[in-house]
Amino acid sequence: VVEALFWPALLGYGEAAFAYASPRTSRAATWGVRLGWLAQTALLIAQAANADGFPWSSWAGSLNLFVWFVVGAYLIWGCRPRFRLLGLAVMPLAAGLFVVARIGGGTDTGSSSAYGNVFLVVHVGFVLAAFAGFTLAAALAGLYLWEERRLKRRAADILRLRLPPLATLERLEWRTVIVSLPLLTVGLAAGIVRQHERGGSLDALEAVTLATWVVYAVFLGLRPSGRRAAYLAIGGFALVILARLVLAGSHFT
């Protein structure tokens, strides 16, 4: 069953990644996202039903869950024609990471973890949901910078190749961070409490995740606007990438 669900999900995400390239096929792309996400949701349910404990506690498994959160966050407001380029930024990344999760065995069944389910749901689930939000915020920030540059340079095609207005991009970026940071706070707190109880030491992933928290806390605290906000959101996302793709391996062993 899991095998049968992985491919439709990948097909949906892959189709969306290509179809968002043209305005004429963006509606088909949105349907690809929706159907792919439903297939991945079914896959996650099948994994949960077959697992002895929290099924996404491995690095690859958590990547699988991360992709689901990213696409889910995109679905909240990405399915509109003017957000086509947001889809073009998010969906290739989602499809690529989904394949990496698959190669790493993150879409298999039968995994188990030594940790309690409640702790893993709170720690892994919340941290990944926050990271997915930061990914979306970075994509919005990237679009903001691109659009702002086109406006500054007075590009003649500014109204033909139309993005959401600058103010909208900035507002959505802010809202995404304001929702994501509390999730990261709860997820991090759960991890720190557990580590304190077990007496472990801070590893590289945890240090970078704390740094990520600081960056976004500064973002909310200073409430920068325009380009500064976009640079800060993208800077925070660089730490997310570092945490998810470079340092995560040691944390999950």
């Binding site: 007075r154 109204l159 033909r160 103010a167």
Partner: protein, 399 residues
């Protein structure tokens, strides 16, 4: 009786001639009433007479009466499908000076609603209004601005999104600036200040938009209170220098410089959070969006062609519908006559059964000929089939 169009437009007639035959809605509907079953569409770019069963030469003579000169060499005359296709293109904005402009659809509606029409003109105009709507919803032809002033408003919306509650400062009280201001206001913006060398002139415009008139010297001091600045003075020198713009402002500042020579220091574009568009930039944006409109026009033409096919099929069906109706009426007449002979010879239950059975037999028998005649109508054999049916079933008298 045929559908005919007689008209002239910006494609074939200079403005000197067009303005002589331009009629307001009352005059246009009066002319239509005088001609018979007709609709007169008259705008600044076209005057067109859509006629059904009206002598075209008489209509042309009436139009020449309005123009005060012969028009035979200028007007175009189209018939049936060609006339319908032309009307559909007009309603869709495809025949307009700016492809896809939306005003014409309202003008077509007004012309149609101002007169009583027969079934053919009624159908063709209702379909034309549908085509106009369909083209605007299924293509992006009408989405982009087609003028410098509407482009300026669209660009401001690209920065701020909804312009509701955004404050605008007009520098200069000229006609072009007023047009840009109207476009911004139509998107929800408020004109906060009108600055002019002569404050008295500014006061009149400010009053109309509900803003405040200020002197040119006060512009820099008020910049912190506005989001959009539109400048269109005839001043020979720069009106606002980059150094006059406050380094910190609460939102982005969007400057539109429609003046030649330019009013606003080009250095403003380099300031953080400031966007500056001059007349060349705006014209480049408009040219680009017009190219986009032309690309969308190809898709719109396909929609028009589909609708012309539908109209053609409907018109063809008009040839056979009377024959079908006569055939069914004759069959029903025979059935009723035979049923009448049963009166008193069968019970009520038996009578109801016989009525039901004979009705079903009739329907089944006539179903295939009806379908075949409708198919033949679309392929242009409709009239021949209709004549054959009338002859075979003795329906000539009812023709």
């Amino acid at each position: 009786m045929t559908l005919e169009l007689i008209g002239l437009s910006h494609h074939v007639a200079p403005v000197e001639l067009r303005e002589r035959v331009t009629l307001d809605l009352d005059a246009a509907s009066a002319l239509a009433g005088q001609l018979g079953d007709s609709v007169v569409l008259s705008t600044c770019n076209r005057t067109e007479l859509y006629l059904f069963g009206v002598d075209g030469d008489d209509a042309l003579a009436a139009l020449e009466g309005v123009a005060g000169e012969p028009l035979a060499g200028v007007v175009y005359r189209l018939h049936e499908d060609d006339a319908a296709q032309h009307l559909f293109r007009v309603a869709a904005g495809l025949d307009s000076l700016v492809p896809g402009e939306g005003e014409i659809l309202g003008q077509v509606r007004a012309a149609y609603e101002a007169v009583e029409t027969g079934p053919v003109l009624d159908r063709v105009f209702r379909q034309a209004l549908g085509v106009g709507k369909r083209v605007r919803t299924e293509t992006a032809i009408g989405e982009s601005p087609a003028s410098v002033s509407s482009a300026a408003a669209a660009l401001a919306a690209q920065v701020f999104g909804d312009l509701e509650g955004r404050h605008v400062m007009l520098i200069g009280a000229g006609r072009i600036g007023e047009l840009a201001a109207s476009n911004l206001v139509s998107r929800g913006a408020q004109i906060a200040y009108v600055a002019n060398r002569t404050v008295e002139t500014a006061r009149d415009l400010a009053h109309r938009f509900g803003g405040e008139a200020i002197a040119l010297d006060d512009v820099a001091a008020k910049l912190g209170e506005v989001d959009v600045v539109v400048s269109s003075t005839s001043a020979p020198e720069v009106v606002l220098a980059a150094s006059d713009v406050p380094a910190k402002h609460r939102t982005p500042l969007f400057f539109i410089d429609i003046a030649v020579p330019r009013d606003l220091d080009a250095g403003i574009a380099r300031l953080d959070g400031c966007f500056l568009y001059d007349i060349d930039d705006l014209e480049a944006v408009v040219a680009d969006t017009l190219n986009g409109r032309r690309a969308e026009a190809t898709r719109a033409e396909q929609l028009v062609e589909e609708e012309v096919e539908r109209y053609r099929a409907w018109r063809a069906s008009l040839d056979v519908v009377p024959a079908i109706a006569s055939l069914r009426a004759r069959a029903e007449e025979i059935r009723n006559a035979e049923l009448a002979k049963l009166k008193g010879r069968v019970s009520d239950d038996e009578r109801r059964t016989i009525e039901s059975v004979t009705s079903q037999i009739l329907n089944k028998l006539l179903h295939l000929p009806t379908v075949r005649m409708k198919e033949a109508a679309v392929s242009a054999d409709g009239a021949a089939y209709a004549d054959a049916v009338r002859h075979l079933f003795g329906l000539e008298d009812e023709k």
